[in-house]
Symmetry: C2
Subunit: 277 residues, 2 copies
Amino acid sequence: MAQASIGDSEFDRGTAITLREPGVYDAQLSPGWTIMNVANGGYLLALMGRALGDALPHSDPFAVSAHYLTPSTPGPAVVRTVTVRTGRTLSTGQASLFQTAEDGREVERLRVIASYGELDALPDDVRTAAKPPAIPPLERCVGTDVGPPPPGDFSMLDRLAMRIDPATVGWAVGAPSGQGDMRAWFEFADGRDPDPYSLLLTVDALPPTSFDLGLKGWTPTVELTTHIRSRPAPGPLRVAITTRNLAGGFLEEDAEVWDSADRLVAQSRQLARAPRE
Amino acid sequence: MAQASIGDSEFDRGTAITLREPGVYDAQLSPGWTIMNVANGGYLLALMGRALGDALPHSDPFAVSAHYLTPSTPGPAVVRTVTVRTGRTLSTGQASLFQTAEDGREVERLRVIASYGELDALPDDVRTAAKPPAIPPLERCVGTDVGPPPPGDFSMLDRLAMRIDPATVGWAVGAPSGQGDMRAWFEFADGRDPDPYSLLLTVDALPPTSFDLGLKGWTPTVELTTHIRSRPAPGPLRVAITTRNLAGGFLEEDAEVWDSADRLVAQSRQLARAPRE
């Protein structure tokens, strides 16, 4: 099978949008990017990012803030965008994704404000003080196809080739570390290289840190803000997520994405509901 | 002078809003909360947070995402809010702040999506792994009235009683540490205790980390997302801000706010433009 490429891949097909009229895009939410039959939040973000990239005069997401309202399911969807402001180096837009309920009403799934620019126009001075995560080499990490099969539908995992740091995968065998960390190598199963849109998916693609904290159950995202800081180099990404503030029934997940050139290409933080114990 | 209180203070008067019609609030941007004659981003966020708190069925900001479009100046402003979704424990709203230009057109200054809940209804289990910042006792920290007066108008500093960690104030005497940190004790000059709305100001009130990196000039905020995790206890707050990814003409600032009860009451991250050298 020929290796997929940016523009021709499962991710591109899954996040494809069709212009219906200025600012309005039709999409088909794919059953291939779900967890427990709910569309993954990062997948939705990438799809909406594509729509805003088409609607706005600047090409690349720089800061994307999303508030999740109701769960999205596979099937038709429409993205309605609004141009909020266009500037010389940055533009800002807003987008909402809707799906039609059985009674015919449109129900909003998530709402996004995002500021876009041109990543390739940025100066190349890099004074990043942060260091890449300490994660073992890819071949020493654990594929998501190892261990007991997850309960229920995790179809998105079939699209990805993630390999999790053994230090953060104890939960899969009943021995969570309790630290609230998750680290993994991230690639697409079909070999597609990363790009700014796929980074929007990557920040929300790993198992939740709640697993490493010994909690059972998923952590629905309330809000997710992602910064895209550089076009990622080809090749595998390293993702490191930490939770330091599990309290009052909520937790935050801080994600960093590093590319093969050791650039910190994306940073995100989400607020999520902790599972009820 | 009687100590100010929540509801009767410079901060409350400066962020006051008046309902004009459902969802629409008039405000007067105060010259007392500016830096270089531009309204401080956290001040604007707090003002808009107050409007959304009135418009939405839930009382307290949980996650507030703001994209800054054009600088705001002292004078009249209008906040237009939209209720996006109301749920049992969370509601989501959107708000825009406008000022009228000389030609009579409304110009949007910033746009916010925010999810609100009831902080007092949260369970009190706290498993926060993060630790309060290592900052010297308040009396060993440096008031902002010490050292050479800042160039230009910094009126907001008169409303605050900030005391900066000596380790992060070297820039004021030409010796920045180069680390990209800023730490300070935060109080209001009139003694008002903190509350969820004032936390929205606090996360953007400290001098920019760019000073500690040895950069000259301000770092305009592109986007700022704040999580409010707990109603703060009365008394001084400790604020710790770090920048780890200065690259390509942008930088992020991660802020943590800790209250007198050692709770991590707020976390934020902003994307800002680095000063041109």
